[in-house]
Symmetry: C2
Subunit: 281 residues, 2 copies
């Protein structure tokens, strides 16, 4: 096997990287490319059917590296909190059904009009305390994802890996983990120490690249590995040194790439993964 | 005097907040509005003349809170490093001539094509070590500004106040300080502790607001105080508790506001400053 094919065994394709593919398509394409896992999203899974998706990946011999996503647990109003908790309980069940232990959480930003970051962080901690034992009982881990600080107001009051680890520390590693997403944390001067500290808690390592200029919608600004500023190989070594042996998920939201030919994009992803993420040895 | 006028005595208007005004115009307008200080930029100062500007502010009884800016000290090539150091030496002289002790530094991002953040940070530290004694000898402090992590690749490898303080710690507080810019650091879970740690090092406290959506050019995304997510009053209390008694600089880069009537904008700034930054008591 060539280097790219060997590396691909550790690659997980996050479904939103090529959103034009249906669940059966992404499973077929990954299996054909020697890609070992997929990161699935709840909406397309629901569209295809939860049980059907679970059977499909099982039959194809493909792992589900993560289910995206739970979270949005910072609301202040009791009704909104109850709704959010119930939605996360459904996500836990879905992850268990799909055979993945890793449920990615985008924790939520400030409620509309609020400036109370500390309060939002406190409500998040309380919600995690409610959900963690339920997740663990289902064999699912809640993976706290620190998002880039540019998403602090609207998507995630967790902005650093250390902050995610501080919150996770109150719970067993099998109940609450963290996601190391290169795009979100690459700038952090304390990153190496935080990754080392994350040993035993890493639920996923996600890769893409930081490219400039940022687009009008900064959600869609991620680049293909190798096109930007992130030393993914160094980060991969740090994650490896922390003992993580799981799938490495390629998660790229990019309007330009989404408009490209998906088969060509998949080939480029596999090549770039071998060239910029995984050591070839 | 009303609350707004009282508060204005501690307000400094950063020149780029209303870039359509010339140096004489901004000095006149601030004096008329009871604003105690201005944050000047080197380019318009050079345009008006350095000595002329120094005389103008002195005669008007207006303080120069900061000179913007030095920095861009992360280049790897020897020639580029020499050029950058010389430019910073000129900026130190200009600050001294203008009668301000505070020179704001935007430290620089990754060199083009580089992924070596640690190397860029190391070169920055070396450049600060060269410049710090020269600045101190001129009665000027190099104020390290942590920029929002979304500017890490292209403008500032310093992304947190703690990181700026770590670098400053190698030098006397009169030689190397830090800037607390609300827009850049508001998301930081360690912010309160970092501000407390910054006691004696704070060269400027700068305010604006975090508003969504971010514009196409994220440099121009700052909002008027009170329009966004930042609890400026709480941050002001923290800065106050750290012993900072200097000017509070309003620095808003915003294309929409720049197109508005500048006199109306100044009135709004003074009102918002009193309502959202300074306690009225």
């Amino acid at each position: 096997m060539g280097a790219a094919v060997t590396a691909a065994a550790r690659l997980s394709l996050n479904q939103r990287t090529i959103p034009s593919w249906s669940v059966p398509e992404i499973v077929d394409k990954c299996a054909a490319a020697g890609i070992g896992a997929v990161g699935l999203w709840r909406e397309p899974v629901a569209e295809h059917g939860l049980a059907e998706t679970a059977k499909l990946v099982r039959d194809a011999g493909i792992r589900v590296s993560t289910l995206c996503r739970g979270g949005f647990l910072t609301a202040a109003e009791p009704d909104a909190r109850t709704t959010a908790l119930d939605d996360n309980r459904r996500a836990i069940d879905e992850a268990a059904t799909l055979g993945t232990s890793e449920l990615a959480l985008v924790v939520g930003g400030l409620p509309a009009g609020s400036r109370d970051l500390a309060g939002a962080r406190q409500r998040l901690a309380e919600a995690i305390a409610v959900l963690a034992p339920e997740a663990a009982a289902a064999g699912v881990r809640l993976d706290l994802e620190a998002l880039h600080p540019m998403f602090c107001a609207d998507r995630s009051v967790l902005t650093t890996l250390d902050e995610a680890l501080d919150l996770a520390a109150d719970h067993p590693p099998a109940a609450v983990g963290v996601i190391v997403d290169a795009y979100h944390v690459w700038w952090d001067p304390g990153l190496d120490a935080a990754i080392s500290r994350a040993s035993g808690r890493i639920g996923s390592f996600q890769v893409s690249d930081w490219v400039l200029p940022l687009p009008a919608d900064v959600l869609l600004g991620r680049g293909l590995m190798g096109d930007g500023s992130i030393d993914l190989r160094a980060m991969g070594r740090a994650v490896d040194a922390a003992g993580y042996r799981g799938d490495i998920e390629v998660e790229i939201f990019n309007g330009t790439l989404w408009a490209a030919d998906p088969d060509e994009l998949l080939t480029a992803i596999v090549d770039r993964f071998a060239a910029h993420v995984i050591d070839r040895s």
